[in-house]
């Protein structure tokens, strides 16, 4: 068991972080807003952690203090939240695909900025980010509770007044408006909650990946997170979590398959070099054959009934 965790520490932590990022996309989607801005806030959070920890390194040769990681996460969340309000107020007047495009533009603008600014290390980025844990599996102690907390948060959110306002906006913005729910206020809130989560995950990821550069917050990432949500199922918070976990593990599972003995060499080679081809095909197949995603509200309620 111990060796399993050591071998797959990187993968497990990546999966958990991906599930959290998927949730960061799900939060605005709860209020009916398709935002692809998460990678922008993720990148911002990562840069905050990377800059703070490399400019002010911890004394001695010890591990990076945990409280500083937590402080960075807090700061990353705050900064992302402020930026989200500033961007969200004008941008969330847009609907559907227009909002998605505006958030893509936002991510790209941040990316070009980070490629060119001195503080972000330009195209090279920032590396040698100090490690608060001696093994990669150690990050699960931060990433795991963050995911669980976010899931609990979302679960509770769906059951309180604010969450009901989100869902009402998703179902019918005009009717929600007529029921006393301010569309702007709650859309910006949902967008900001997602941004804060993405920023916090970014701060962890910067340490986890040891290096941070402009490739972290890209359009590709936007679309991957969207795939997590839509393949997992966008109607419950369980869907994005499952989507993030499964789709992150998938390329590694395919890689593991290449080691299976008795496989023809050409197939082995294809599984190794072409596993992203299979990944893409699975995303396309998922979208076409499971339009509701893997996890649907009906499925969850059926599971609940199965339990005594």
């Amino acid at each position: 068991m111990g060796s399993f965790f050591n071998t797959y520490g990187f993968l497990l932590t990546s999966m958990v972080l991906a599930a959290s990022l998927a949730l960061s996309l799900y939060l605005p989607l709860m209020a009916g807003q398709l935002s692809l801005a998460s990678p922008g806030f993720y990148a911002l959070g990562g840069y905050i952690a990377a800059v703070l920890s490399t400019r002010y390194p911890a004394a001695g040769n010890t591990l990076f203090p945990l409280w500083r990681l937590l402080a960075e996460m807090l700061l990353a969340g705050l900064a992302s939240g402020v930026l989200a309000v500033l961007v969200g107020v004008p941008a969330l007047r847009l609907r559907g695909i227009y909002l998605a495009l505006a958030t893509i533009a936002f991510v790209e603008i941040l990316r070009v900025l980070s490629l060119n600014l001195a503080i972000t290390g330009g195209a090279v980025g920032i590396f040698g980010i100090p490690q608060p844990f001696s093994t990669q599996i150690g990050y699960l102690w931060i990433a795991g509770p963050l995911l669980l907390l976010s899931m609990l948060f979302t679960y509770r959110l769906e059951r309180i007044r604010v969450g009901r306002a989100f869902v009402a906006l998703r179902e019918d913005e005009l009717a929600a408006d007529s029921m006393g729910i301010s569309p702007t206020c709650y859309k910006v809130l949902a967008f900001t909650l997602g941004a804060v989560l993405a920023g916090v995950v970014g701060a962890i990821s910067a340490h986890f990946l040891n290096t941070w550069n402009a490739r972290q917050g890209t359009f590709d990432a936007s679309i991957s997170y969207l795939a997590f949500v839509l393949i997992g199922g966008s109607r419950t918070f369980v869907g994005p979590v499952v989507g993030g976990l499964v789709l992150t593990a998938l390329p590694e599972l395919l890689r593991a398959l290449t080691g299976v003995s008795g496989l023809p060499p050409w197939l082995g080679q294809f599984l190794r070099d072409g596993r992203l081809i299979i990944y893409g095909a699975l995303i396309a197949i998922g979208a076409v054959f499971f339009p509701q995603g893997l996890i649907t509200p009906d499925l969850l309620s059926r599971w609940r009934k199965l339990q005594p």
Partner: protein
């Protein structure tokens, strides 16, 4: 925005002054003025395309007026966003039912209690005692409203699976959840059989009494309006062509003309 107006009488709940709305070259509502008194059941009738629903949209803020002033309890509310109008106590139903279809009946009603919630987001998230109490109160009140419209037994069923008449009643329950003083009903009897219409008439009277409501209602079915309303306004091509008690309006030549000419 909400400066008090010296002119409006205190018992006028809603007053429209020269309300006008143009869409391109078309004048959907043209210089319409009227006042609705507290506790009144006020009917709005007219042929198709007369501008009745547009007038509702002007009152509830969904469509901004091109000209005119709207007063609610003596305060100018023209140009307020729909949620501000709703928060002031003007609730409505929609002609082409706009329930939150994927959500349960109970959720539909509880969403409309939005403005009554006081507990903060954090307190609600951690289910602090006060927040939990509030949530329970809101739920009980929502259930009572469902009971009132006879849907309590199906509180957890999805709204879109309800029969047409049930959906109309659920919309009324949802509007009542706003605790309004003015209720706008857009063709509440549409698609109902004579039996259901009679029940609905009684129901509207009873909620007016129970909640002390002022009700403004659009209806296509003239006999229902005539039997139910205290006063009736008639719109034709965006103009207000008659206003008075049902008997007066019924014998008004302009009204007869408008309906025969349809």
């Amino acid at each position: 925005m909400t400066a008090p107006s010296p002119v409006a009488a205190p018992d006028i709940v809603l007053e429209a002054r020269g309300m006008t709305r143009r869409f391109g070259g078309l004048v959907a509502v043209d210089n319409v003025s009227f006042g609705v008194q507290r506790g009144e059941l006020f009917g709005l009738i007219g042929p198709n395309g007369a501008g009745k629903t547009t007038l509702f949209n002007l009152i509830t803020g969904l469509t901004p007026p091109s000209a005119g002033t709207l007063l609610h309890r003596g305060q100018v509310v023209t140009g307020l966003r729909p949620h501000r109008i709703a928060a002031r106590g003007i609730a409505r139903t929609f002609q082409n039912i706009r329930l939150f279809g994927e959500l349960s009946a109970l959720q539909n009603v509880m969403i409309a209690q939005h403005t009554q919630g006081r507990a903060g987001m954090f307190a609600s998230l951690v289910a602090a005692p006060a927040a939990r109490r509030e949530e329970r109160d809101l739920r009980e009140r929502a259930m009572a409203l469902l009971e009132l419209v006879g849907l309590a037994g199906r509180a957890n069923a999805k709204a879109r699976n309800f029969a047409y008449g049930d959906q109309r009643r659920l919309e009324i329950a949802r509007a009542l959840a706003l605790q309004p003083d003015l209720l706008l009903l857009d063709e509440p009897a549409a698609g109902m059989n004579p039996n259901e219409k009679a029940t609905l008439t009684d129901f509207i009277r009873s909620i007016r009494a129970q909640f002390g409501l002022t009700i403004l209602l659009i209806e296509h079915h003239v006999p229902l309006v005539m039997g139910l309303c205290d006063r009736v306004a008639v719109l034709d091509f965006g103009h207000l062509i008659a206003l008075g008690d049902p008997a007066q309006v019924q014998n008004n030549p302009a009204v007869i003309e408008a309906y025969l000419g349809e």
